[in-house]
């Protein structure tokens, strides 16, 4: 993996984010496995930590990059893969992270009023997990388009 990174044109920050996001994606699968095994306490800790960590990574690393590199060019340049991938990743990622935070607040706290809390936990959690992985794959595609020269070169 280190050798693969040496061949990309990515800055260190982008590599760190990629590794973190891949680890978080795997972590969520492990968390889901914990729930299946009935270890709900560990499941809650695992998923909550990942959702909050991801929120921090998005706020500190991804949003500033998106604002500089993508936001000034949309919607005019959405026809280009470079911008389209990043925008789709960003939009779907926002929905997924918000849904993750909603589950976290709904299942793990009493902050939300009763009528706003989730009743069908499994459907929500499985849907968000599936969406999370779609976003992760889109993020990997974005990284590849932005930083891996030899895949798209003439």
């Amino acid at each position: 993996m280190i050798a693969a990174f040496l061949e990309t044109a990515a800055p260190r920050g982008a590599n760190v984010v990629l590794v973190l996001e891949m680890a978080m994606g795997i972590g969520l699968l492990l968390g889901a496995w914990l729930a299946r095994k009935g270890r709900f306490r560990q499941h809650a800790w695992c998923q909550s930590t990942i959702v909050l960590l991801n929120f921090a990574v998005v706020a500190v690393m991804m949003v500033p990059s998106f604002r500089v590199h993508v936001l000034p060019r949309i919607p005019a340049k959405l026809g280009k893969a470079y911008y389209a991938l990043a925008t789709t990743h960003g939009a779907l990622g926002t929905v997924t992270e918000l849904a993750g935070l909603y589950i976290l607040l709904s299942a793990g706290t009493k902050v939300l009023p009763e009528k706003l809390r989730i009743t069908k936990y499994k459907v929500w959690m499985r849907s968000v997990l599936a969406l999370w992985w779609v976003v992760l794959l889109l993020g990997m595609a974005t990284y590849t388009r932005w930083y891996v020269p030899h895949l798209f070169r003439k």
């Binding site: 044109a9 990515a10 800055p11 500089v68 590199h69 000034p72 060019r73 340049k77 280009k80 470079y82 388009r145 932005w146 930083y147 020269p149 798209f152 070169r153 003439k154």
Partner: protein, 120 residues
């Protein structure tokens, strides 16, 4: 007859004269181009070309992004001597170098892309 020979001669002289002046103008254009103090660095295929560019003092260097993804050009020096916005395909950034020295730069989006301007 004499008149037509005269006209033909005049026409020939005009054509030759135009040729001479035309060449002269062409030569002056070339010299002017050589004297203009603008040089270009092309950004393509995740690299700057030429990687090192030597220019006289007062030269304006223009970076043109010919790549299909965005790049920028940022002076490595601290404080930064120049910094472009993010350049999309076919966008340009220019900077005039008024002091001799070596000016390394890089693309902050792809930090392994580096180049330098040598001002003499």
């Amino acid at each position: 007859m004499r008149r037509s020979v005269f006209i033909a001669g005049l026409a020939a002289a005009l054509v030759m004269g135009m040729g001479i002046f035309g060449t002269g103008r062409k030569g002056s254009v070339t010299r002017a181009q050589q004297n203009t103090s603008t040089m270009e660095v092309k950004i393509d295929n995740f690299s700057f070309g030429p990687v090192a560019l030597t220019v006289p003092v007062g030269t304006t260097v223009t970076w043109t992004n010919r790549d299909d993804i965005p790049h920028n050009t940022v002076s490595t020096d601290d404080p930064k001597i120049f910094k472009s916005k993010v350049l999309d395909t076919d966008e340009k950034f220019s900077f005039t170098f008024n002091k001799p020295g070596t000016y390394p730069y890089f693309c902050s989006i792809h930090p392994k892309m580096t180049g330098k301007i040598i001002v003499q």
